[in-house]
Symmetry: C2
Subunit: 300 residues, 2 copies
DNA sequence: ACGTCCATGCAGCGACGCTACATCGACAGC
DNA sequence: GCTGTCGATGTAGCGTCGCTGCATGGACGT
């Protein structure tokens, strides 16, 4: 029973297919398929079953994939066991963040980590639909993800979750607008407005819908834009108003952020790590710095 | 970091050398040496150091070997995870026992296990010095071992211990001897006798020495024989008396077993299993039967 | 019905790990 | 002292295992 094959099985589950798993493992689909065949042969039970043109894990496959995580964790602990004798943690950590978190956190993270020395952080920005965040942990050691702060089931898929900060969502209005001078806005104030929202399925989309429920009228979404800097430019130009996170936006001079009263609107920013990656000392160090940095932002 | 290399490291520790480890792993010493070299290269620290013409593990190597056990356990759990879907436990279990336990337990164990069906038990009898019992778990799944019941440090070396039974040690005397009629013997009764003991370093050797301490005179050992059936023959022929376990000896018509009063003399019979082997369902089943059988013997 | 996508079989090649043998150092015996 | 033995470690050569590349077959959408 090969550990590489177990890792492959785990990847097939989290990526949802042979081809996708092959991509994150830097292999061809054929190799993945062969590994699965060998694995299920010496497991004695079929681990996958065809469904449509793809496949999914059987109950046995699912159980084995769960066990595979424990194997990976044990192996990583083994590495850590002698890394402890090798001196201070060193290596490279791959960090991914969605755009606004990248803007807010990555510069500070890089300077903080650089101060410790010996650790390389490879950053990248990936913004995906909410369901897809856990699967990113196959490509990155730390994935900064976000979700609605209220009434959210959280992250599935066996990832370790480290909360970073809860960020209120404010209403972004043009600086010249009559709403710009208010200290707070009620849902009724913005009931009939034109909205600029994020694309469907993306984390904060549901928050705007929830606000709509309070006023009784569904918000009229005129644009769907994911990049908050673009949204700010649109708001400043009077093309609509938007819900924007308080800490990671608001740089545009033509935009004012006004708190929304009467509704708890916020997004939760979390760091997601695979359990085995979490065992790596370097990863733990980077996570530590990330948490500390988020704490500073919340207070400052 | 290869799991086979980790397993090899563990074997080198428990066997105390490259050559011995190679033997239990069915490899050449060269292969073992190469695996260690690769392992310590990508661990970044030396895992072994030469001492005399052999070697021993460094602190890092020891830590890594500990971690290797957890890896093996996790892997075995993975196997068990899908074996649960494959139906009732099947396979072969290698059981080793020292001679008297083999005589006492193995026949019953084989019939009990055969009654369940599907499980093959490969028996062998190995009687070694007390220190050497844990290392036997590298060659066998279940090792039935014994040690003095009182004042014994127990088994080292990271094996899982399952107690089977505590067996009193009685004094074996010739049937014609004046001592044969007694219901119990005091240490003073046998102070000046000629003794037939086991070889030095073997588990029950220390018990006889302890009895000597009570009488103030060291027992005079005239023969050292490990096989209890041979001992009985010698006792029956009048060549000396001996301390023999109550349940697993006494078949010889010319020998009487008389309890020893005033001293707690006994041996503890344990089953030793490697933590990873203990995860195998078949092994667990065989152990279960072994424990049940030992319980019957104690009561019956 | 056709094109596309996805998983899977098969041939061929490369790489890795093993065996066999030689070497070197350490201990015991004469 | 030297010699013989044992134990660990390098080196050459070979076998095997797993990967790539390509072809096949089934499933969905147009």
């Amino acid at each position: 029973m090969d550990v590489r094959a177990l890792e492959t099985l785990r990847a097939v589950r989290s990526q949802g297919g042979v081809t996708a798993a092959a991509a994150v493992l830097h292999l061809t689909p054929s190799a993945v398929s062969q590994q699965l065949a060998v694995l299920s042969r010496d497991a004695g039970v079929p681990l996958t079953e065809r469904v449509g043109r793809g496949l999914r894990l059987t109950a046995a496959g699912d159980a084995l994939a769960d066990a595979a995580v424990d194997v990976a964790v044990a192996l990583e602990r083994a590495r850590a066991a002698c890394a402890a004798f090798a001196g201070s943690p060193t290596g490279t950590v791959r960090v991914s963040a969605f755009q606004s978190a990248a803007w807010m956190l990555l510069p500070g993270l890089l300077t903080r980590v650089a101060a410790r020395g010996g650790i390389t952080v490879e950053c990248s920005d990936e913004d995906v639909a909410q369901d897809a965040f856990p699967a990113l942990t196959d490509r990155h050691d730390v994935v900064v993800a976000h979700r609605p702060a209220e009434a959210d089931p959280g992250w599935g898929g066996g990832v370790r979750v480290v909360p970073l900060l809860r960020e209120p969502l404010d209403v972004a209005v043009p600086a010249g607008s009559p709403l710009a001078g208010r200290v707070a806005l009620e849902p009724a104030d913005v009931a009939g407005a034109d909205w600029i929202a994020v694309r469907e399925g993306f984390p904060v989309a549901r928050v705007l819908a929830d606000v709509g429920v309070r006023t009784g009228t569904a918000p009229r979404v005129v644009q769907r834009i994911n990049d908050f800097h673009v949204v700010e430019a649109l708001v400043a130009a009077g093309h609509g108003i938007s819900l924007l996170p308080r800490y990671s936006s608001g740089g545009h001079p033509g935009v004012r952020l006004v708190p929304l009263a009467g509704v708890r609107a916020g997004r939760q920013v979390d760091a997601l790590v695979r359990p085995d990656a979490a065992e790596r000392r370097v990863v733990a160090v980077v996570l530590e710095e990330l948490v500390a940095l988020a704490g500073e932002l919340r207070r400052g």
